[in-house]
Amino acid sequence: MSTPDTPNRTQSGGQKANKKSLIDALELDTRLLGMIGAFILVAIVFNVLTDGRFLTPRNIFNLTIQTVSVAIMATGMVFVIVTRHIDLSVGALLATCSAVMAMMQTAWLPQFLDLPLGHPLIPWLAIAAGIITGGVIGAFQGWLTGYLLIPAFIVTLGGLLVWRNAAWYLTNGQTIGPLDSTFQMFGGINGTMGEFWSWVVGIAATLAALAALWAKRRDKQRHEFPVKPLWAEVALGGVIAGAILGLIGVLNSYQVPAARLQRDFAARGETMPEGFTAAYGLPISVLLLIIVAVVMTVIARRTALGRYIFATGGNPQAAELSGINTRMLTVKVFAIMGALCAISAVVASARLTNHSNDIGTLDELRVIAAAVIGGTALAGGIGTIYGAILGALIMQSLQSGMAMVGVDAPLQNIVVGSVLVLAVLIDIIYRRRTGKG
């Protein structure tokens, strides 16, 4: 390796090494770069095809709120797939959780606890009931898989039918609504933070990200590990700050229509001052996704649970021989997945302002596709939370973009299906080349 080669090869090797050292210096994940590149490409192509309508604040706002529900579940699907399982029941489980929460709000709490409709406790009790329902059902499916050794594919295929129709029985097949108005704030356009608080969140997130970068560097220095050159660290911090604040800036430039503002003022018995404008800002549902993403990333990287999830995915026998209770781990992973289905159910039903029978239909496919496009390997052991979220965003961009261009619905699905297969092929080639995984 260290013996000098022919001059010619050394030179080209040197150039390559230079290019490589730049990426190494920044310690960037080339796969992440590739996915961001793919996303930017999709965005630019649709922006051209729609004469600039794709990259407007309004459409970006819509894209983010449309992505949230699938993206939240996709983060949980990463853990499921990393441990070499699959969950086909997420869409159906979302429906059951949504049904439980809708019935809590409109029927059970008012009837059994005598809480009047609109009582401030109602949305929170409903959400808690939904999350418990999702977690318990998930844990049950995890128990069937981990302890009774029924393949997850079968357990959750059965679950798909069971929970979809359990939801039907809970609601007698009716659409339940309108949901509590506080609850509806989690749906997207009905709950945004406004300009000021969006900036507050954006600046807080930026500071937290920079502090995390700094803490990591300090920690490495303390153990005398090599650190990135300072300029690389500063550049990386700059990109992260720019991305966060840029997103907030875009969302803050989407103005609430004047007619709607007037309605809001009228509802409060006030009159709108002349020339008053307000921006939507960051949707609460997107903030929820960001919180879920951070928590799931911390679990994946900084906790023993996350370490065991990845170790079990990499070599289940090794994990077991190391004293890891892989059966209980399966229960936990599916319980997390179930709880996330419930959180997605909050967002999805709040966005529709009611619970409908077909809520979450085919979401299992979107969620699995998002995780897989995001680089989660079905063979287990490999996957990232941010990848799954990016995967969900890419899928949603394709779908929305094609709808805006006016592509026929059947062709949209054909394209999305093909992209899924192609993405996995590219991933396989990438892994083979880099020898990773």
Partner: protein, 248 residues
């Protein structure tokens, strides 16, 4: 002197097959005991009972003169029994530090994984075991057989094993790396560890072990001091399943 490990009358059956049949073996501190036999003779199964991977149908394990209950790998570790499995038992997708500390992670004061400290500790122990080991941060799938073996061995050494079980530790290694493992076995033995060694290589076993036990069809054929027997005697025990006539 009390034996470090005293395996008494262990039996285990899978389905109708008696994989280990009434086997008793002991091991003293600073001793290497070899387990020999054909594939399926029951060596690995016996050793997995000691390391907590299987639970014996009957029989007892005594450690330091006291009856031990080993129902899981965690129990075995509590008795300072460390095992280097034939398959190496590494999670290929994780780097060396994550593997070394798997199941026994170092934590920060908030309970999160302390990856930097684990990496630093790994660097330290690797410098001692295998100075050529540099790929600390890469997944172990990127490592050579010998380097992977060092990770598995480092795990045993780091946690102060008193009883070390090595199942075919040199099967996948080159000549140089095999020598390294042999040297290490001698070093650990000198430190007073008791080592169970499984191998197919009779020659190697005669060099490394103090005593060898031969198994066939789940039964113990016999245990001999290596200086009392020839390689041929051992081979005939393995093949014929009978104790050799002692020359002396």
């Amino acid at each position: 002197m009390t034996p470090l490990v005293d395996i008494r009358n262990i039996s285990i059956a899978f389905g109708g097959v008696q994989a280990v049949d009434d086997v008793s073996i002991d091991l003293f501190p600073g001793e290497v005991v070899g387990l020999l036999g054909h594939n399926g003779a029951g060596k690995s199964t016996l050793i997995k009972i000691l390391s907590g991977a299987y639970k014996a149908d009957s029989g007892e394990i005594w450690i330091d003169g006291e009856r031990a209950t080993i129902n899981s790998p965690r129990d075995a570790r509590a008795y300072n029994i460390e095992t280097i499995h034939q398959t190496l038992a590494l999670a290929d997708n994780l780097p060396a530090p994550a593997n070394l500390f798997l199941g026994r992670e170092l934590r920060t004061m908030f309970g999160f994984l302390d990856d930097s400290r684990m990496e630093a500790e790994t660097t330290k122990i690797m410098a001692r075991l295998n100075p050529n080991f540099k790929k600390i941060a890469e997944p172990v799938s990127a490592l050579s057989g010998g380097q992977r073996q060092s990770v598995a061995i480092a795990r045993a050494v780091y946690f102060n094993a008193r009883i070390l079980i090595m199942d075919e530790p040199t099967a996948a290694l080159g000549v140089h790396e095999t020598k390294m493992v042999a040297d290490l076995i001698m070093e650990l033995k000198a430190q007073g560890l008791g080592i169970f060694l499984i191998s197919h290589d009779t020659r190697e076993m005669m060099d490394l072990c103090d005593r060898v036990s031969v198994m066939k069809n789940g039964q113990l054929i016999g245990t001999e001091r290596v200086e009392d027997v020839t390689e041929d005697d051992i081979l005939s025990m393995i093949i014929m399943g009978k104790k050799a006539e002692k020359a002396a």
